[in-house]
Amino acid sequence: MENKASAIVMKPNDSVATVVEEVQAGSDVLLEVNGATRTVHVTQRIPFGHKFALKDIAKGEMVIKYGEAIGAATQDIQIGQHVHVHNVESCRGRGDKQAK
């Protein structure tokens, strides 16, 4: 199943793409990065505006969007998987991680 041009990659070194229409699990999504097109097999349903991984991301690794770190992976994330609050945490404003 192909789902054309339904995801946007903001910067060439980003590790995630943002979908601009809902993508069903098992879709092949066509992307444009630096003028070149590539296809990524998306393995989970991705709601409108949400992200999937463009590469395998190891637990603890920074997730990159807009060419900048948007947080750290809390578990290993495989290419094509949904990337959101269930597997990425913020590194900022973390009062819950302050020494008590």
Binding site: I8, V20, K51, E68, I70, H84, C91, G93
Partner: protein, 387 residues
């Protein structure tokens, strides 16, 4: 590049001729509303403040109220007080008149007038006269360099950073290149993007301030002992695809454009410099809107992905949708659509130019959806306890 505005006798420029009915204390809200509803065309706001406040907290409330009264979009002010409050209506009224002799200012104090009905009657008569005077003023061509634009995003989604915010950034650059002023604010929504703004600071001091205000806001979040996620990004932001504050901030920062950062100023401080200015405010939409308008923003462009109705009582608030689905679904609240960037129908530059053209049209008198809906949102940040 010009728009049609009002030149005040002190040289300042307004884009509206509002008669504002302003309570200085929560206890006067009902009377202020009664006055404004009696006189077609008057605007008002309500708030929870004005009494049992002390020190810097009382001073901040007083500053924000006063600077709504002195705002050049306002030609007349009815100041309403109860009579025994901390922030006294007669003091605010006198100070507005002292700073802006061109304005008509009237003070109504409920305890002196003899109750709500008499206070409403006195204020209504005054407001009626002010509106008749205001209707005689005429617009004239004014250079775009005199415009101060506030930028804001709220109810953000993942499209905010890809469509409406970059397009608003393009419009911000156009206004700055024309000699005007643009305000970037909502400091917590720059956490994770502060290095990008600081790199554009005109000097070391301004760059240092960028990191200081971020540190203060981040420390404030940490002091609460919880993860700030849920408060910001909000549940709606998260549903819209934003995962962390860093991601939200990196999309948010686009709306200030790409020009050098001239200064970092405090909440509601009067805006005196040209170019891009960072005002240190919370991310809370209405507290930010209120501070930017108090600082002197003539107009606010507000991008939204989830959809919001908000608008200042005295500064036209232009709402730009980040996606076409919401633009169509909440069309009675949206003034423009940037969703065409997502669908590939338009470029960021094309939408940015449309936003800039709309800014000049609204500055010249075109009414916004929020104005037609009577939005009068107003909220002041509290920085101290109630006594």
């Amino acid at each position: 590049m010009e728009f049609m505005g009002y030149r005040r006798s002190d040289g300042s420029v307004g884009i509206r001729n509002h008669v504002l009915v302003m309570p200085t204390v929560v206890c006067a809200n009902r009377v202020a509303r009664g006055i404004a509803q009696n006189v077609q065309g008057a605007v008002w706001f309500e708030h929870q403040h004005g009494c049992s406040q002390i020190g810097a907290d009382a001073a901040l409330t007083e500053k924000i109220l006063l600077q709504h009264g002195t705002h050049p979009n306002v030609s007349g002010v009815v100041v309403v007080g109860l009579g025994c409050e901390t922030i006294r209506a007669q003091d605010i009224a006198a100070e507005i008149k002292r700073q802006c002799p061109y304005k008509t200012v009237h003070c109504v104090i409920m305890q002196d007038e003899g109750g709500s009905f008499k206070a409403i009657a006195a204020g209504s008569s005054a407001a009626q006269k002010m509106l008749m005077e205001a209707s005689l003023l005429e617009r004239e061509p004014i250079n775009a360099s005199e415009l101060i634009l506030g930028t804001e995003c709220g109810g953000s989604d993942a499209c905010s950073g890809m469509s409406a915010n970059p397009a608003l950034g393009y419009a911000s650059d156009l206004l700055i290149d024309a000699g005007g002023t643009v305000i970037l604010a909502e400091t917590p929504e720059l956490i994770g993007a502060e290095h990008l703004v600081a790199a554009r600071a005109v000097n070391e001091q301004v760059a240092k301030r960028c990191y200081e205000v971020i540190q203060q806001r981040e420390d404030g979040a940490k002091a609460m002992g919880v993860d700030m996620r849920g408060g910001n990004p909000t549940p709606g932001n998260i549903e819209g695809g934003l995962t962390t504050i860093e991601e939200k901030s990196l999309g948010c920062v686009y709306k200030g454009g790409t020009r050098p950062l001239q200064d970092v100023i405090d909440y509601g401080d009067k805006i005196t410099k040209k170019g891009l200015i960072w005002m240190d405010t919370p991310g809370n939409d209405i507290e930010q809107l209120t501070a930017m308008v108090a600082g002197g923003c003539h107009i606010v462009v507000f991008t939204t992905g989830r959809g919001t109705a908000t608008g200042s009582p005295i500064a036209p608030t232009v709402k730009i949708a980040t996606n076409t689905a919401m633009y169509e679904k909440m069309n009675d609240n949206m003034d423009g659509n940037a969703g065409t960037v997502i669908t590939g129908e338009e470029t960021i530059q094309q939408v940015g130019q449309r936003i800039f053209d709309e800014i000049l049209r609204v500055a010249s008198g075109k009414r916004t959806k929020a104005e037609l809906l009577g939005q009068n949102d107003f909220s002041i940040s509290r920085i101290g306890p109630s006594m």
